[in-house]
Amino acid sequence: MTPLLEVQNLTMRFGGLTAVDRLNFKVEKGNIHGLIGPNGAGKTTTFNMVSGFYKPSQGRVLLNGQDISGLPMHEVANRGVVRTFQHSTLFGELSVLDNALIGTHMTFRPNLLKAILGLDSSARRDALDRARTSLEFFGLADVEHEMAGDLSHGHQRALGMAVAYASRPDLILLDEPFTGMNPEETRRMMGLMRRLCAEGTTILLVEHDMQAIMGLCDNITCMSFGKFLAEGSPAEIRNHPDVIEAYLGGARHVA
C-alpha cells in the first residue's frame, strides 16, 4: 500500500549550508507521526518543504504516490495537506470565528458573482456551520466573537489547529503545537489530537516536548544535523543509542 506521505532523498541547501540532507521517511495513513531531533536538526525546514513553503533543492515529496514537491503552498493545501505554524500565526485582527471561516476556504470557495447577487447564502451557512464545529472541537465556541489576537496563548494555539482542521485535511502538519502550554493544556491537546486521528486525519508533528511525543505518536522519525538518524515506535526511539547520543551527547561531544 502506498503511504499517505513519502519523502525521498529530500535535501535543502541554503548556500553552503545543507539544512536537510537526503532525508527519507514515510507517514502511513491514520497514524500520528512525530518528527524529532535536537535544535537545528532541520525539522522545520523539512516541514517547510513538505508544505510547499520551500522548494526542495533535491529529492521528492510524494502524496499518495503523486509528486507534490515544489508546488506552491496553496496547491499543496488543495491536495489535502494543511499546516500550522510555529508560534501563534493567526489573523490577529479578525474574530475567532472569521479565522475559522478562512479555514473553510477550500471547501466553500468564495464566488464573487454569487456573493454580489446574494446567491451563496447556503454555502455561507454551511461554511459557518463547519467553522463553528471546528471551534467547538477545540473548545473555542464561547470565544468566537473575540479578536484572535486577544486570546490566551493556549487558546491561540488551539485556534491555529482549528483553522487547519476547518478544511478537513487528509494530513495535518503541526509545527510545535505544545510550545508554551502548561501540562494540563498539553494533556487536553493530546486528547484532541487522538480524536482527530480517530476521525481519520493523519498527523505529522514536530515537537520538543518528549513526554507528549512519546505518549502520542505511533511512529517517530529522529533527525540530527539534517540527516536521518533513526525511526521506530516510541519505545524503540527512547532506547536507541544514536538518539540518546544526539540528545545527551556521546563521548566525542563531551569535551
Partner: protein
C-alpha cells in the same frame, strides 16, 4: 425598518441637497460624488494590504476609453461608461502580471511607474489620445426623461442625480463584495498571507482580483468625469490628484467602508466652503499636506475612529 427609514431619508436629502446650494457648489457635488467612488474603490484594493499610486491613472484609462468609444465609434454614452470600467479592469489585469511579482513598498513604486508609463503614452500618441492637450468635445450624456423628472445634462443638478445613482449602485456592489467571503479572504491576505496560503488561498489570484475590481470601478468613475467635464488630458490624472485620493483615504481611515468616503466628504467641504470663502483655495496642497501630517500624528485611525468613539459611547448608555 429603522434602516429603511434612514435610507429613504438619505435619498430625500440627496434629492433636495443640490437645490439648496449655488451653481458652483452643484458642480462640486458632482465631483464629490465621483470622487467618493474613486476612494471607495481604492479601499477595496487596500483591503488586501496593497497600496497603489496608479489608481488615478487607471481611472483615467476609463475616462479615455469611454471618451474614445463614444466620440470615435459613436457608442451610446451609458454603454461607453461601462466600456470605460471594463477597459480599466483589463489594463489592471495586464498590469497585475508584472506588478504582483512585488508587494508592499515595491508594489507602491511599481504601480507609480506603471501609471506614469500610461500617462506618457497618452501624451506621446496624439492619435488617438490627443497628446498633451487630451481629448476635447467628449459627448455629454444624452438627455432623457423619466416622466416626473426631465434630465438635462447641461445642468449639474441632473448630472448629480445621474452620477449619484450610478455611484450608489457601485458602492452597493463594493459593499456586498467586502461583506462576502471574498472580502474576508482579502482581509486574510492582508493580515497573514502565509497562513492564508496554508489555508489554500491563492494569494496572487486574490490580490489580482481586488486590483481588477477596484480598477474597474475607478474606470467607471473616470468615465463619469469625462462625460461631465467634456474634456480630459493627461494632467487631469497626474500624481497630484493621486495624493488627494490618498489624503482622503488616510484622513478618513481605511479600517471601515465609510472611512475613506467620510474623508472625501469632509475634506471636500473644507476645501470648497471654508478655503474658498477665505480665498485660500490656492493653498490647497499646503493645507492638505498639513492635514495629512496632523491626522497621521494625532488621529492614526482616521476620522472613522471619532465616529466609532461617538457611536460606542451611545451604545454604552
Amino acid at each position: 425598518m429603522r434602516n429603511f427609514v434612514i435610507w429613504v431619508a438619505l435619498a430625500i436629502a440627496l434629492i433636495v441637497l443640490p437645490n439648496l446650494v449655488s451653481f458652483s457648489q452643484q458642480e462640486v457635488l458632482v465631483f464629490l460624488t465621483i470622487n467618493i467612488l474613486v476612494v471607495a474603490s481604492y479601499r477595496l484594493l487596500t483591503l488586501t494590504g496593497e497600496w497603489s499610486l496608479g489608481h488615478v491613472v487607471i481611472m483615467g484609462v476609463g475616462a479615455y476609453a469611454s471618451a474614445l468609444v463614444t466620440k470615435e465609434l459613436g457608442l451610446w454614452v451609458p454603454l461607453g461608461i461601462i466600456v470605460g470600467g471594463l477597459a480599466s479592469a483589463l489594463i489592471a489585469l495586464a498590469l497585475s502580471v508584472p506588478l504582483f511579482r512585488m508587494k508592499g513598498f515595491y508594489f507602491l513604486i511599481g504601480s507609480f511607474a506603471a501609471g506614469e508609463i500610461i500617462r506618457l503614452l497618452w501624451k506621446r500618441f496624439r492619435d488617438p489620445f490627443g497628446g498633451a492637450k487630451g481629448i476635447k468635445g467628449i459627448d455629454p450624456m444624452p438627455d432623457f426623461s423619466i416622466g416626473i423628472y426631465q434630465f438635462d445634462f447641461f445642468e449639474p443638478v441632473s448630472y448629480f442625480y445621474f452620477s449619484a445613482v450610478v455611484v450608489a449602485l457601485c458602492l452597493w456592489i463594493l459593499w456586498r463584495i467586502e461583506k462576502s467571503p471574498v472580502g474576508l479572504t482579502f482581509h486574510a491576505v492582508h493580515w497573514q498571507d502565509k497562513l492564508a496560503q496554508a489555508s489554500g488561498v491563492n494569494l496572487r489570484r486574490y490580490r489580482t482580483m481586488a486590483f481588477v475590481i477596484a480598477s474597474g470601478f475607478a474606470g467607471i468613475a473616470g468615465a463619469l468625469l469625462a462625460h461631465y467635464i467634456g474634456t480630459i488630458n493627461p494632467n487631469s490624472f497626474d500624481v497630484e490628484v493621486m495624493v488627494f485620493v490618498l489624503t482622503w483615504a488616510i484622513v478618513g481611515g481605511t479600517g471601515t467602508f465609510y472611512g475613506p468616503i467620510l474623508g472625501c466628504v469632509v475634506l471636500t467641504i473644507l476645501n470648497e466652503i471654508v478655503l474658498r470663502e477665505l480665498g485660500l483655495e490656492q493653498t490647497r496642497p499646503l493645507i492638505y499636506g498639513l492635514i495629512l501630517i496632523l491626522s497621521i500624528l494625532f488621529m492614526p485611525n482616521g476620522l472613522e475612529s471619532i465616529v466609532q468613539k461617538v457611536t460606542r459611547r451611545k451604545d454604552a448608555k
